[in-house]
Amino acid sequence: MEGQLAHIGAGIAGLGTGIAALGVGNVAANFLAGALRNPSAAASQTATLFIGIAFAEALGIFSFLIALLLMFAV
């Protein structure tokens, strides 16, 4: 029973990765919106874009890690 509950928990934790995808999409979409308004400033901000994406993605990776822990370590 406990093992099955861990699997359900892993599934719920998997949702977190999808929600993190929303965050990453939000960052990229806002970057594109800004870049189309001022294309000359876009090239200098790609580093900031990647930092933003990395921070948003990290939390999704954390929930993926929780899923893995529930699957293989609990």
């Binding site: 998997g14 580093a47 990647f50 930092i51 994406i53 990395a54 993605e57 990776i61 993926f64 699957m71």
Partner: protein, 254 residues
């Protein structure tokens, strides 16, 4: 996760493997015990990464041709790319750290790309490997910041641009986020790489069933393309975050 279904379908098609099997650390020369001095497949692929970097950065550029060969062009591009990144993100006075940042980038990018070779081993998919890289960055930044600025380095946690009553609360948050840095820094790289490789293996499990195997093989191809992108972007992200942390050590005032 679909791991169990993949394993079950794998049995049906005669292929039995687990998607996480590819990450098992095995001693290279027989035996099952792994000590700190045991030569394992991790050691082998790290050594191969170092050999590949040596071949690109030392052997390919040794002729110093005016009209560069392909290898020399790639080495010069990588050098210029990272040098500009350190200058732009961490500041002009951070170029002393350029060799360190360059080493980090080359090692991660080569380990990632070597891991994409079928049947190879991805060293950066292990948290034990990436946490050491991240802790080195963390210790470098902390020790250098404290040595250079002394107690002024603690101004990093005291946000002077915020209203005074908010500052203690912000200080706690800043302190936590500072000490979580090595964790998120390492897990981001290892998690991304491991997730991609595990997904490819899950699709490979489905490829054993005749009905879905064309879809599965297409999915593996698409995932592989994405993984090539991720391998580079994650190395880039790790390096640029190192530069961001270095900037904090050099200019701690908010």
């Amino acid at each position: 996760m679909a791991t169990e279904t993949a394993a079950a379908h794998g049995e049906e098609g005669g292929l039995v493997f687990h998607p996480m099997d590819q990450f098992i650390v095995k001693p290279l020369f027989g035996g099952t015990e792994v000590h700190w001095y045991t030569i394992t497949n991790v050691t082998l692929w790290m050594a191969l990464a170092v050999v590949a970097i040596f071949a690109l950065m030392v052997l390919a550029t040794s002729r110093r041709a005016t009209i560069p060969s392909r290898g020399q062009s790639i080495a010069e591009l990588a050098y210029g790319f990272i040098y500009k990144m350190v200058e732009d993100v961490a500041g002009k006075d951070a170029v002393g750290f350029f060799p360190y940042v360059m080493t980090l980038f080359m090692f991660i990018v080569f380990a990632n790309f070597l891991g994409l070779i079928p049947m190879s081993f991805t060293t950066t998919s292990h948290f034990a490997v990436t946490i050491v890289l991240a802790l080195c960055v963390f210790l470098t930044v902390t020790i250098y910041g404290l040595a250079k600025h002394g107690t002024k380095f603690l101004g990093l946690f005291w946000v002077t641009s915020a209203p005074l009553p908010l500052r203690p609360i912000l200080a706690v948050i800043e302190l936590i986020s500072y000490f979580v840095r090595p964790v998120s820094h390492s897990i981001r790289l290892a998690g991304n790489v491991m997730a991609g490789h595990a997904v490819i293996k899950v699709f490979a499990g489905f490829a054993a069933i005749a009905v879905v195997s064309p879809v599965s093989i297409l999915a593996i191809t698409a995932m592989y393309g994405l993984e090539v992108l991720v391998a580079f972007i994650q190395a880039y992200v790790f390096t640029i975050l190192t530069c961001v942390y270095l900037k904090d050590a050099l200019h701690p005032s908010h």
